[in-house]
Subunit: 305 residues, 4 copies
Amino acid sequence: KTQQKIKELFGREEAEVHFFAGGTQANATILSSFLRPHQAVIALDTGHIYANEAGAVEGCGHKVIPCRSFPKSQGKIQAEMVLEVLKNHGSDHVVEPKALYISNSTELGTIYTKKELEDLHSICQKYQLIFYLDGARLGNALASEGNDVEWTDLLNYFDAIMFSATKNGALYGEVAIFKSPQKGFRRLMKQKGALMAKTFAIAMQLEVLLEDGLYMQLARHSNQMAQKLKKGLEKLQYDFYSDSLTNQLFPVFPVHIIKELKKEFAFLQMFSWGEEKEVCRLVTSWATQEREIESFLNTIAKLKG
Amino acid sequence: KTQQKIKELFGREEAEVHFFAGGTQANATILSSFLRPHQAVIALDTGHIYANEAGAVEGCGHKVIPCRSFPKSQGKIQAEMVLEVLKNHGSDHVVEPKALYISNSTELGTIYTKKELEDLHSICQKYQLIFYLDGARLGNALASEGNDVEWTDLLNYFDAIMFSATKNGALYGEVAIFKSPQKGFRRLMKQKGALMAKTFAIAMQLEVLLEDGLYMQLARHSNQMAQKLKKGLEKLQYDFYSDSLTNQLFPVFPVHIIKELKKEFAFLQMFSWGEEKEVCRLVTSWATQEREIESFLNTIAKLKG
Amino acid sequence: KTQQKIKELFGREEAEVHFFAGGTQANATILSSFLRPHQAVIALDTGHIYANEAGAVEGCGHKVIPCRSFPKSQGKIQAEMVLEVLKNHGSDHVVEPKALYISNSTELGTIYTKKELEDLHSICQKYQLIFYLDGARLGNALASEGNDVEWTDLLNYFDAIMFSATKNGALYGEVAIFKSPQKGFRRLMKQKGALMAKTFAIAMQLEVLLEDGLYMQLARHSNQMAQKLKKGLEKLQYDFYSDSLTNQLFPVFPVHIIKELKKEFAFLQMFSWGEEKEVCRLVTSWATQEREIESFLNTIAKLKG
Amino acid sequence: KTQQKIKELFGREEAEVHFFAGGTQANATILSSFLRPHQAVIALDTGHIYANEAGAVEGCGHKVIPCRSFPKSQGKIQAEMVLEVLKNHGSDHVVEPKALYISNSTELGTIYTKKELEDLHSICQKYQLIFYLDGARLGNALASEGNDVEWTDLLNYFDAIMFSATKNGALYGEVAIFKSPQKGFRRLMKQKGALMAKTFAIAMQLEVLLEDGLYMQLARHSNQMAQKLKKGLEKLQYDFYSDSLTNQLFPVFPVHIIKELKKEFAFLQMFSWGEEKEVCRLVTSWATQEREIESFLNTIAKLKG
């Protein structure tokens, strides 16, 4: 069955696998399955659970302790940030940090190296933190050029991982995998409204995605489209807010060019950057076509004049 | 768009429509959008939110105040039960009842008449209760023979309604509809992990189900299969725990017959009933075939000998 | 220090003691320190956490599973009720019962025998339930005539106990005691707003109450006042809803007599009982004086005529 | 009665007054009475609810959105910070900011001017934010030399205020006051475990504190003690992290001096500041005596050599 296939992908027979319909739900349910009420999770302030999930984790009663991403980090939490948080949370008047959240690839398109994961894992071991991976874009991380982490490495570091089918070809479906059995997790899923009546419809999609490496193939494609776009923009001398190797790019565009681009293309404006410029967010997917990239590059080249 | 079609179905332009992946999530999110922390919802003790959702509503911090189903009711809450709860909840030391939950068809397969809905609605008006309909099996109720309620009646009574596509042909998908705009509801959905990345995949299924009356046709079919089964069982002189007109039946079978039936058919044993007997739960669906019903009846007839 | 004194009272050096300002807060905080989100606590429907704390436990996200008090019990939960709940909570679609709550003396003034506590404790052991005692009126239980339980017995049975100073002479102050250290409990108290800035003011009151047996002496006094009242009412041939041996009485009075009594005395009307009668709740305290009892008895005797 | 006296102090007859045992509880209960689940409160990252209450507000499900105190602010939130938060919280994927929390005097001992309160109030009006004042040290603010705000001004700006008796002479007791009646608040208090059985014991203490200006007199005394200490430390050429006018001082001391001081005096070390130095927190109270200040100054003068 599909769960078995997923355990094999991660190389860990004693793992426990569950299916979710959405990622925000998966993150909040998994984290709250580990935490007592006064315990909190550490994350970057760019972390999806901190910045983009409408307080889902706080809605379960747990503080998300933010570390500042800017300017030291590129969407990647650093060992010293975690140690700083631990140092400041010794008193009974503050929450107890009990979990560490990272995303890979990150919200800025960057990826963690094996060495970085090992370092964070060591801290988690030492201070008894749960180490959790939000793999909404895990495929993109593992399929990226600079990556040195393998699927079978992951459960050596993480206590639990979520990775997304929705973001990589499926209509809906996220996978939660625990290093070891997580007692009572299905009841917790039911309580959070996450137990699907027809789970098979998620499993079926994963069957297909995990066959013959399709999942990685789709991720690689979207990375390639983004990297092609990146090279094109670099040639046009645009700067980037982060050095992304995956399918999210954060170029800095002048405001007047953004205005024109928006007429044809859909993308997010993130925040102001210097005079009359903004950091934008361009995302490619498994469905992005080469000619769409070319069309974007042509358009912006023309606008630049 | 699909939302428009649904508003038309309910005959209410100013309604607000949202899509969910699952029913437990829809129930808890909708109810918690109405309630302040110290407020509670009244339900029968057979009500799905009280009995079968792993404390999803309580998980949002709200007590579900149970009314006893047995022996006065057949899965239908009665006006006097609601009044009794209100009478007992006047003090500051108890929760404030602020919503009334019913399901139609009920968890016992029974349905509410227009008159009954009107009576409950009057109480809700008088005591400022939110009136909420869990329509997980709403199609079965409205397609049932004894029914005198129409789609366009519903938002005259209820402040919010959930009805299910999952339980009536779709792979997943539930619809929430509010009588009037419910401010901030999409943010609440996001917080509860209920906002889907690809909502269109739910909408598409509903498009199909709501075209040419397919939704009602499927519901009618499952009702008919159940009623055929019911007649067959009555002919064999089996009793029923409730007088269901829809697609859930609750026959009383002797334990030794249950044991044999279970070898061939999947159904739930609910609870003991008299000596060596149990109330069982038989559910038909849009996919149930006539010959499956006949096969069940033949088997039990043979077992009875 | 006071905590040491309390450990000695319970005869358990490895216990952990905390002070609260109020009982509802203590109950909810202690229970939530043991429970994961999908776990629930079993209680009688007369239990204070179920009936009189405005959903404080549900407010922490946990269902309180009610067992019916009437007519089998006199405010005391019975082993078979707990077993019945466990039997019905096997599925992933229902909460997981993880704690058993009782109060002693109960909300109906009755008390548990050693044998009863042992039986409930055995079930808790067998099914890994936390066994929790709400001792808001623990002094009254232990000081009552029919009691065979000692302070030093209690932590053999219970994982945690709350007992009240407020209800037995103090201005405010409740004591929480855990059988073994409860990790992180002070942080949880802080989160729940239960950590007092000047805890010494509670400790001081307990110092006094626990010196020279004052606590038990006050409890005994209030019991005696109630029992005197009980005998007087029995002589006047009034019936009682429960057979209380402590300081709460539940006599059945005719409505017209209640109306007159209310002009002079403050007490609660609980619920109707037969024709034109109601069950009332009379509570004595450490401060109740013999002549107040006599005055009540004289008044009612006159009213009866 | 005491509540009336308090309404008079604030010059607002239609206000609603409640008593709490502790401040953390008051903050969380009041804020959660205003917020729907997906709504959040804006605060400085030095704000007590963000930094020192063990996630009490998050424990009620609400995110606290932090604004950076350092380096622009001295513990006082600025209008532009609030506007920045509002600008960044327009999407359905983030919480909805619905309340603004400030403390006066602040956690850094500074105070708000009338003008500053007016500005923040305007923003709250414009964007429909609840404006909440944590007055744990409100007496110190209003009794401070630089203050231009009066008690009767406060409910022109704030929707709700908590001010502390515990921190200004009482054994325990905090006052919550709402600009207008807050429906159902006593039930919410009960649910949060905040309703005291013997509220009169808090009211009595307030009666005394509010008579003949005792409350302000005690606050003024503690301010004076702190300001005397401040002048002494300035004379010894110590720097301060914030320019406090009230009873909390934040001097920067060399580490070796801190080490010696700690042998005799109790105070907090906050964080490192430059080389071999730390910001410390010195707090005076209604009970601080002049000779204690002198003793501290003498000791540190000697240590400095």
